[in-house]
């Protein structure tokens, strides 16, 4: 359908597909692009076009990365004894910026939610269990969102992982109720890490 539009309209229509970007912002961005030197649009276009092929899912932590295993999984300075479990890849950045965690990560790609038809089998839970069964992990820090689905996922993981002989903790106080990890400020995340509790 967008093929029928003129090139500018087409760019506006494509930009407006981004979450949080409406018709007005998309139009502003498109006109800004037109005012830049031609290579700007080309560079942006190439970077965007190459994205799906350039990124892979890390076979260890299930993060979206440029290499497999990803750079965090292959970083020898990180501790293998602790794994921090998050719902989304972008949650890793929130924990990293707090500077309070130096272990490994694991991305579930969601949380348990029967209302949305999402169960443990739809998440990267099996991969997490395999990592723990491989040995060397002492503690699993569950950093799922502090909402109903995040809490249930944490309870599910605690029941599943404790029999494997690891300590299971949960990020606690510090993040305001209703705030998703991605949007929390650094000091809140640091405090939440300090106050993580046993499950």
């Amino acid at each position: 359908m967008s093929q029928d539009l003129d090139p500018l309209r087409r760019v506006v229509a494509q930009l407006a597909r981004f979450p949080g970007i409406g018709e007005r912002t998309a139009t502003r961005l498109a006109y800004w692009l037109l005012r830049q030197p031609p290579e700007t649009a080309r560079e942006i276009g190439e970077a965007v076009a190459g994205l799906p092929d350039a990124m892979v899912t890390c076979s260890v932590c299930c993060d979206i990365a440029a290499t497999d295993p990803c750079r965090r999984c292959s970083d020898p300075r990180r501790s293998d004894e602790a794994i921090c479990v998050v719902e989304r890849p972008q949650d890793i950045a929130a924990i990293e910026q707090s500077g309070g965690f130096h272990g490994r990560y694991h991305v579930l790609h969601g949380a348990i939610s029967p209302l949305d038809g999402v169960g443990p089998d739809d998440l990267r839970v099996r991969e997490l269990v395999a990592r723990i069964e491989a040995g060397g992990v002492v503690e699993v820090v569950v950093a799922t969102d502090p909402d109903v689905e995040g809490d249930a996922t944490a309870l599910y993981l605690a029941r599943l992982l404790k029999p494997l002989g690891v300590r299971v903790t949960r990020l606690a106080h510090g993040i305001a109720v209703g705030t998703e990890l991605e949007y929390a400020d650094r000091s809140s995340v640091a405090r939440a890490l300090e106050n993580r509790r046993e499950l």
Binding site: I112, G119, P120
Partner: protein, 389 residues
Amino acid sequence: MRLERLELGDWRNAARTAFDSDAGVVVLHGENGQGKTNLLEAVWMLGALRSFREARVGRLVRHGREEARIAAVVVGRSGRRRLEWRWRGGARTLLVDGVPTRDLGAWFAILRAVLFCPEQVGIVRGGPAERRAFLDRAAFAADPGHLEVARAYRRAVRQRAALLAAPPVDPDQLAAWDADLVARGAELVRRRALAVAALREPFREAHRALAGAGEVDLRLRGWAELDAASPAAIPAIRERLARLLEERRPEELRQGRVLVGPHRDELDILLDGRPARVHASQGQARTLVLALKLAELEAARRAGETPLFLLDDLGGELDRRRMERLTRRLVALPNQVWLTTTDPGLLGGALRRKAKLLEVAGGRARRQGRRGGTAASRRPGGPPPARRA
């Protein structure tokens, strides 16, 4: 807390209107169909973020318009604050002092309200859901934190129900939702039990004052023996909920439904030792609901909060003696009272002297002096308070 000024834009039948409400009692009077209740509903929308007549907010926007706006100046513990509610394109925006916010706790810390309207006779005569809703609202009037606890619990129940409704049920996942329900349910039960304990004495007292006869009581069925204030309350409730879940799990799995939890609890309202739901007459039920609302205000006051008290269509079914007793109570309340009536003559001299009388016509409120004169005639040169914004 006190609402000192209200401004409306395309709300119900009001195009644009604004008026000052700087009085202990605000009386909205006028003929039927002029928009008295619409104005009260706007105050409730700010104080509860919902309507008491219409679940679909889009329908509250003035016919032919796309967006509606309600704004108020509220004076309270946190000083003088401006709250604004906007509805546009099917979405709500809340602004505190001009800054958009999603923090409902901060919003309700500034303004909350308690409502009495004729339909609420259902709290006494309707089903248990209406009584649970009353209890949750009363707990919320004293502590806005209750909102999040009740909401998260409802969400957890819906999730657990969705799991049970789609067999085969993964026992490990069910165990996680069980643990979640026990934890959230225990917190909800304890808060409700505390609310019942806080309401019981003020309810008896208010009912005696209004009705003059009949002993009343409140009980959270199944939890009557619980000492909610004790630190042992939470473990005790958890243990009991876990046991009930255990007992009824086979039945829940067979029926594919949630059969255990405080979303099924019953608040018993007793009149002379018997369930008021079956034994109270229409008039008695109305008095019971008024007494419950006065108790809700008193419990909130003891918790350090003074929400607004909104009464819709006052004078409908109360006899003259009960009306006099009620207005005496209203005059003595520390809360700001908003009420609508077709006949301000019913209110009695003491209440009228404390009141700001606003006549509502065509969706707009116009000030009248305490003895019937207009503001402009009593304050020469002053701007008329009900003007176009």
